[in-house]
């Protein structure tokens, strides 16, 4: 027997898609104006059937997938969710549900528990009912809180996901107290990633540096106070950091997303990159898609990189950042992510930060996704 005290290693993918996300549908009862789902999403139909999803699950498991997220849109809108969870659980996945809480009734929770669901990530946007509802464009706070209580009653571990913008950054402390009160174990303050709706509304959404630093101080004090009771994730966003995020741990490295229509994506946002063709599980074997398809190979490793990344000693750490962000902000996905201060396009990010601070630029005022959305009162919410 080797020494038992030796640290077990953290798993690197070894080339396998360890993390699988199934976007069961793009449909959603909420209208978050920062949603990273495609802009034309209500038009997308053609969702995979139950049997097609089951095949994806089997094939991904064969490729070594272990962690599984059921997401969307709102996955609760799929009536076969329980069946898919049960199937995935039987295959040996660690099953997570990523939900807004809408439609998460006691009855369905009990079934999900029986089906073997392991964890639930619940998105909540504000600790204040009126603000939460205005932000997501629909009355939902009470449903989310009821879902939260019921989730805890069924004994699921919970990650509270709070996408952070100027509109809720002052509520960071209150959100932590909400987690403490309801017995939530993890709270993730998610930096809004500026793709799709969020990019459109970037000027209105992006908090200032001062707000971020204040929020960070609150989080640090709460970490001190609560210790292991609530684990908090909070990082200063790439726009303010001078370095990009290690997006997806690299393209085609450990992460695989399947969109509602069966398109296989190296990350949930990848469809924003024009000119890439995404292989579909309806036409091609998943094994081929992951290992051999041109799209998954395209930015794998570092041979595709340009300067400055190719000569940079940090490329193992951040993989040159996010391809989608490079494409959206510089027009070429092979460029260094402009969130990096070494990028020749870094000024694009600096001026976005400035525009947001002064709230001058496209996307101000907020573009709502539906004229009738509650959030047309956004101006009144502005801090």
């Amino acid at each position: 027997m080797t020494k038992a005290g030796s640290e077990p290693v953290l798993l690197d993918g070894g080339g396998n898609p360890l993390w699988l996300v199934l976007e069961l549908t793009y449909r959603c009862p909420l209208q978050c104006p920062w949603c990273n789902n495609p802009l034309n999403f209500s038009e997308i139909e053609q969702e995979l059937s139950t049997e097609e999803w089951k095949k994806v699950l089997r094939d991904a498991r064969k490729l070594g997938s272990l962690q599984l997220g059921f997401s969307g849109g709102e996955p609760m809108l799929r009536q076969d969710l329980e069946e898919l969870v049960e199937y995935a659980n039987g295959l040996g996945f660690y099953t997570n549900l990523i939900t807004s809480g809408m439609g998460l009734t006691k009855k369905r929770l009990i079934k999900l528990k029986e089906a073997g669901l392991k964890q639930i990530q619940l998105s909540v946007q504000h600790s204040d009912r009126a603000k939460n509802d205005a932000m997501v464009g629909a009355e939902s706070f009470d449903q989310k809180m009821a879902a939260c209580e019921e989730i805890k009653a069924q004994g699921f571990p919970v990650v509270l996901n709070v996408p952070i913008s100027r509109y809720n950054i002052d509520a960071v402390g209150d959100m932590i107290k909400l987690a403490e009160r309801t017995g939530i174990e993890f709270i993730e303050f998610a930096n809004i990633q500026y793709y799709n709706w969020a990019l459109l509304n970037r000027t209105e959404l992006m908090p200032t540096k001062e707000q971020l630093e204040e929020a960070e101080a609150v989080v640090n004090a709460e970490r001190e106070r609560l210790g292991k009771a609530v684990t908090m994730y909070f990082v200063i966003p790439d726009y303010f950091d001078g370095r990009p995020k290690a997006c997806m741990n690299g393209w085609g490295a450990i992460h695989l997303t399947i969109a509602p229509d069966g398109s296989a994506l190296p990350c949930q946002e990848a469809q924003v990159i024009e000119g890439l063709e995404f292989p579909n599980v309806r036409d091609k074997p998943l094994d081929w898609i992951w290992h051999e398809s041109p799209t998954f190979q395209k930015y794998r490793g570092d041979s595709w990189m340009k300067k400055p990344c190719i000569d940079c000693d940090e490329k193992e750490k951040d993989f040159g950042g996010c391809r989608c962000q490079a494409f959206l902000l510089t027009g070429d996905a092979e460029n260094t992510d402009p969130a990096c201060s070494k990028s020749p396009h870094f000024d694009v990010v600096l001026s976005a930060v400035e525009a947001a601070r002064d709230r001058k630029g496209p996307g101000s005022p907020m573009v709502m996704r539906n004229r009738h959305a509650l959030g047309n009162g956004y101006r009144n919410l502005a801090p």
């Binding site: 027997m1 080797t2 038992a4 005290g5 077990p8 953290l10 272990l66 997570n96």
Partner: protein, 96 residues
């Protein structure tokens, strides 16, 4: 007997119910799955955790490991592993 250990020989450890341990073919190893990640276990860790079934105390576990490994002197290793596993919340314990 190790002093200052966070638990004693009579305590019954079990894998934290939010964790899931299984043998993973594609990694040729036992893995521990949990909400935010995956841990690949080395053989030693896997051998200990497999015995953390929630129905036997640490004394029994150590005795079983000793039997498996021809009476090897492994108490200290097991204790330090259990301490780490408890600290990382891989396991929880209750008194017997």
């Amino acid at each position: 007997m190790v002093q200052n250990a966070p638990f004693n020989l009579q305590d019954i450890p079990e894998i934290n119910p939010v964790y899931m341990m299984q043998y993973e073919e594609s990694q040729s190893a036992w893995v521990l799955l949990y909400p935010e990640g995956i841990i690949k276990l080395n053989d030693a860790a896997a051998n200990i955790l497999k015995l953390c079934t929630g129905d036997k105390n640490l004394e029994v576990i150590i005795a079983e490991l000793k039997e498996m490994f021809n009476g090897a002197d492994l108490e200290d290793d097991v204790y330090s592993f259990m301490e780490m596993a408890l600290d990382k919340s891989w396991i929880r314990t209750r008194p017997s």
